[in-house]
Amino acid sequence: MTGALLTVRGVNRTFGSGAGAVHALRDVSFDVEPGTMVALVGRSGSGKTTLLNVIGGLDRPDAGSVVVDGLEVTGLDEDGLSQLRRDRVSYVFQTFGLIPVLSAAENVGVPLRLARSEPAGRERRVNLLLDLVGLADHAQQRPGELSGGQQQRVAIARALAASPRLLIADEPTGQLDAETGLAVMGLLRGVVESEGVTAVVATHDPVMMALADRVIQISDGRVPAC
């Protein structure tokens, strides 16, 4: 596992107990190399989102370990997990998750504010990212004034704002039409390359699979040995 940005080892996650217990993840193990884009593929209920939650510290596994950028995630307390999400891991949601009363630029600057960045540096970074996602002209518009695709691009810019090492995206094109989805996928692929970030993207979309450096299949909470 030397050199891997993300190392998942023997992760198990079960919801409920007894006869009604649901085994969402069963002994999942894999590594992801830095700067690669991995597509996590599986049917609904296969455990994709649970796995993303465990990787990002949004959920804790019952057993196993997750190491992100050399940091053992499963051993962190709440503050440690917050720090992890602030510095090393960021998310792109299917539903964008932007703050409606803030402009696109202000939304992108949220992680930088959390990181207490200097205003000038923050502004530069926000402009750079909006330029990167092609929304420099829409910086002052609010989410409600943007299309779905534009909103998702803002969300991607926001996810990249704090220069994370790992970008986690859960069905990022799930609410977009095919054409817009394709553009967003292309953007994701582009930022992985330009920012040198590692991405784990849960998707059903074959186009995204094609764009990924690697595809990890998950089925009934199991990931075949790689």
Binding site: L52, L58, E78, S82, R86, Y91, F93, Q94, T95, R158
Partner: protein, 902 residues
């Protein structure tokens, strides 16, 4: 799916049991309050009627007098009437027959009395006076037992004796009580040497010593000196004794005195226990009629002359009850509207929780009427039993329950849930698309804005109209229950003002957001962003602010009433204590004042001559006012030691060269103003010219007062012997009491206590506190409901921020910051609005009728209490809401936010 779907009804009720129970609780509590208040008001009115009549005592008694018929005999002398006692008893019957049956039933049995003048006992010892009395109840009593000698008998065997007009004093026999006889040292057969003020002697002999069978017989109260000597009754230090006349000796007493020295009368005491407010109203008109008849027959000397202040007592009471009823209506309306807003907020919360299921139901084909019916069934099933429970509790508390207010409240409550739910379902499936072109969108937006402005203008116009109506028409003068729009003025005012504030709230939160964007503290920005996102929700902030404003209004009314009662007591007494001595004791007033001034705990004492209802003439118009003749310099010093308004510089009250007496004036109708020339007619057909040079302070009850300086009055020939002593200081009352003076002592503390415990006042003060408490609770409940309604969105935002690195403890701060604007507006603006409403409405609400003040009570805003209680309460609820939400959030996995679809 077009019919009713019972599983959905049951399922929704089970899932939302908490909010539904909350609605039931609010309905039940409001039903208790508004169901119990009208019957309690009725019983309080009855109690107030009884209390007023009881307190009025002598004033409430109905008295009838009749002159004696001539008793000249055939030879020009006076003829003895052996059956005079029967004539007196006949006077009772005659009077009773003249009474309206309703009035008769409210009065106790009559007591006929014959009273002589008070005569000086001339035995050379201490000052003693003797007054002869004949008492006769319906049963012939009051009964006595003769323990020595015998009952007074006739002085002559010739029952029809005729005596010369200017003959020797005619002998008469009397009985003495044991106590009187012991003090006088009289025994049966002894003659008591007495003479009147013109030194005419009378021949009075003691026939026997009696003991009352029932000393508590109310008849004895009419002449208590019959049972025991009454010390200092006239204020001159004399002791009054009573001589009891019998049926047999009464004819001799008639011959012994001139007609004007022996007074016959019949007294009917009002029986408070038989009175209710309703019966008292009938009584008032019966008494007025009776007095009217009496006036018509005034020329016939032997006709019945009725006298009573009962109608005046009842008229004052009617005004008080009408005012109290109107004020109770005002307070009930505030609580009802506060409760309706909270119920609406709960309906909104329920609708938000059910938005998805309602949309699904519509998508599956449920018709809007079916959804409305399902929601109505649920709503009725919750509200009706709760209202029934509330009414049952109200009946248990008050003896009966009124549905007058409960029914409309119940209807609106039952309709709120279905209305919100059906509207949400309709909107969810309405095929309303945003217009494609910009001008059409702008037009739609402006139409929405115009509609909103129209609603705002309508609410504000209604509130302004109600306030104007209240200020112009007042509220106490209308009939009970018929208070209409003016009674809703405070409530509408609070709603309108809160509505305008809420329209400004988004601008405020927007401004705060702009400031927060410049801040380096991310939590401030997130909180401001959340607050800005929720600021456009009208109902939560409107409910909270209006409820707190109305709570502050109620608490301000309470503080104003309390202060008004205190001020009213000061004004009624004029000092800490007041001694009013009778005209007979006028000579001892100064000596009494000297003793009082020398006592400990007395800071100021002043004597004055106070004449009630003195007649003055101004511009050919007669004005009745209280005349106060006082040493104005001393009076000024005394007033300075009290919270009462001070007196102007007394220098201006000195006599003028032209003989005009300068006076300070105060009249309710403004007929006497500074600068007015008027005069005081004297019995000598002359008049003292007077000039109003300034405003007089309110002295005693009533608003018509004229104050003149004693030196000036004396110089002008005005009677100035003082009959009143005012004293201030903690020991004033005790000092007056210690003098033993037998005048009427009135203490400020006593008046205050009497007014505070008066049923109407005490009931209304209780209602003010209950309303304030209920509205505060409703405001806090509204705040908690508003927080609950926005909790899902807040969780989602906070969860997303957590995925960006926000720490859990910072999430608490953001949540608190989001909820803060509504709390701040409520805490800051609520009490301000309440105070403003109180200031605008205290005068027309006629609080002074209950506080007993002449002037409008000073509006007292308990800023510290209102602000502190509101601040502490909102801080506590805010902390509890944030802590509870945090606890709920902890139970929910952060990862769930990834699955949320906005």
């Amino acid at each position: 799916m077009t019919g009713l779907h019972w599983p959905s009804i049951r399922g929704r009720a089970r899932a939302d049991a908490g909010p539904l129970l909350l609605v039931a609780l609010v309905v039940a509590v409001v039903a208790v309050l508004v169901g119990a208040t009208p019957p309690m008001l009725r019983s309080t009115s009855d109690e107030a009627t009884r209390d007023a009549v009881r307190r009025a005592a002598d004033d409430a008694a109905v008295r009838v007098e009749a002159e004696w018929p001539d008793d000249y005999g055939p030879t020009g002398g006076r003829l003895r009437a052996p059956r005079l006692a029967d004539d007196v008893a006949g006077l009772s019957s005659l009077a009773a027959n003249d009474l309206d049956p309703a009035l008769r039933s409210a009065l106790r049995p009559p007591v006929a009395t014959v009273s002589s003048i008070s005569m000086a006992v001339t035995d050379g010892s201490v000052q003693r006076r003797l007054q002869l009395e004949y008492l006769r109840t319906e049963s012939g009593g009051p009964e006595v037992t003769w323990i020595a000698g015998r009952a007074p008998g006739p002085s002559t065997r010739d029952q029809f004796a005729e005596i010369p007009l200017n003959g020797a004093p005619w002998p008469m026999q009397i009985g003495l009580s044991e106590a009187d006889a012991a003090v006088l040292g009289a025994r049966p057969g002894d003659r008591i040497p007495v003479q009147d003020d013109r030194r005419n002697p009378y021949n009075v002999r003691v026939s026997g010593i009696f003991r009352p069978v029932d000393p508590a017989d109310p008849a004895w109260r009419l002449a208590p000196w019959l049972l025991r000597p009454a010390a200092n009754r006239d204020g001159l230090g004399s002791t009054r004794f009573g001589g009891l006349l019998s049926d047999e000796s009464l004819p001799d007493a008639r011959l012994a005195f001139r007609s004007d020295q022996l007074r016959r009368s019949v007294r009917f005491d009002a029986d408070p226990d038989r009175l209710t407010w309703e019966s008292a109203q009938a009584l008032a008109s019966a008494v007025a009629t009776l007095k009217g008849l009496s006036a018509v027959s005034a020329e016939r000397d032997t006709s019945l002359k009725w006298a009573t202040q009962l109608d005046s007592v009842l008229r004052d009471l009617r005004s008080q009850i009408a005012t109290a009823s109107a004020q109770a209506t005002v307070l009930l309306l505030t609580v009802l509207v506060g409760a309706l807003l909270v119920v609406s907020l709960t309906a909104d919360l329920l609708t938000r929780r059910r938005a998805r299921s309602l949309t699904t139901a519509r998508e599956r084909g449920a018709s809007l009427p079916a959804i409305a019916t399902e929601l109505t069934i649920e709503s009725v099933a919750v509200a009706v039993p709760a209202a029934a429970l509330g009414l049952a509790l109200a009946a248990a508390l008050a003896g009966s329950a009124s549905v007058t207010w409960v029914l409309p409240f119940l209807l609106l409550t039952a309709a709120a849930g279905p209305a919100f739910g059906t509207l949400a379902a309709a909107r969810a499936t309405r095929d309303k698309r945003s217009p494609a072109n910009r001008s059409a969108r702008r037009w739609a937006s402006r139409t929405t804005l115009l509609r909103r402005v129209a609603v705002d203008v309508a609410v504000v116009a209604l509130a302004v109209g109600a306030l104007v109506a209240l200020r112009q028409r007042g509220i106490g003068s209308t009939d009970e229950g018929d208070v209409g729009l003016p009674a809703a003025a405070p409530t509408l005012g609070a709603l309108a003002a809160a509505l305008l504030l809420m329209r400004l709230l988004p601008r405020g939160t927007g401004g705060a957001l702009r400031l927060a964007l410049r801040s380096r503290r991310p939590m401030v920005l997130f909180a401001a962003a959340r607050a800005a996102a929720t600021a456009s929700r009208l109902l939560p902030a409107l409910t909270v602010t209006a409820a707190i404003a109305l709570a502050s209004f109620a608490v301000t009314l309470h503080a104003t009433t309390d202060r008004g009662l205190s001020d009213g007591a000061w004004q009624a007494v004029g000092a800490d204590a007041r001694l009013t001595v009778g005209s007979e004791a006028a000579g001892s007033t100064v000596a009494i004042a000297g003793q009082v001034a020398a006592a400990r705990g007395v800071s100021a004492v002043v004597t004055a001559r106070v004449v009630e209802s003195e007649r003055f003439i101004a511009d050919q118009t007669s004005i009745a006012a209280r005349l106060v003749v006082v040493d104005t310099a001393a009076f000024r010093r005394l007033l300075a030691a009290t919270p009462l308004p001070g007196l102007p510089d007394p220098a201006g009250l000195a006599a003028t060269n032209d003989g005009t007496v300068p006076a300070l004036v105060r009249t309710s109708d403004g007929s006497l103003r500074p600068g007015t020339q008027f005069r005081l007619p004297l019995r000598t057909n002359s008049a003292i010219p007077m000039a109003a040079i300034g405003a007089a302070p309110a002295v005693g009850n009533g608003d018509d007062v004229i104050v003149v300086d004693v030196a000036t009055a004396r110089a002008a020939g005005l009677e100035s012997a003082p009959n009143t002593v005012w004293a201030t200081g903690p020991g004033a009352a005790e000092a007056i009491r210690a003098t033993g003076a037998d005048g009427r002592l009135t203490t400020r503390a006593g008046v205050l206590e009497e007014r505070r415990t008066a049923p109407l006042t005490a009931g209304l003060v209780r209602l003010q506190l209950i309303a304030a408490g209920a509205l505060l609770a409703l405001g806090l409940l509204g705040f908690a409901l508003a927080a609950a309604a926005s909790a899902p969105e807040r969780w989602e935002t906070l969860a997303r921020l957590r995925t960006l690195g926000l720490r859990p403890r910072d999430a608490h701060r953001v949540a608190a910051g989001e909820l803060l604007p509504v709390a701040v507006v409520a805490v800051v603006c609520g009490p301000l609005l309440g105070a403003l409403l109180a200031r605008l409405t205290v005068e027309p609400l006629a609080l002074r009728v209950l506080t007993g003040q002449v002037a409008v009570p000073v509006t007292v805003v308990p800023w510290w209490t209102a602000e502190l209680v509101t601040l502490v309460a909102f801080t506590a609820v805010l902390s509890a809401v944030v802590a509870t939400e945090s606890s709920v959030r902890r139970k929910r996995r952060l990862g769930d936010v990834l699955r949320v679809s906005s």
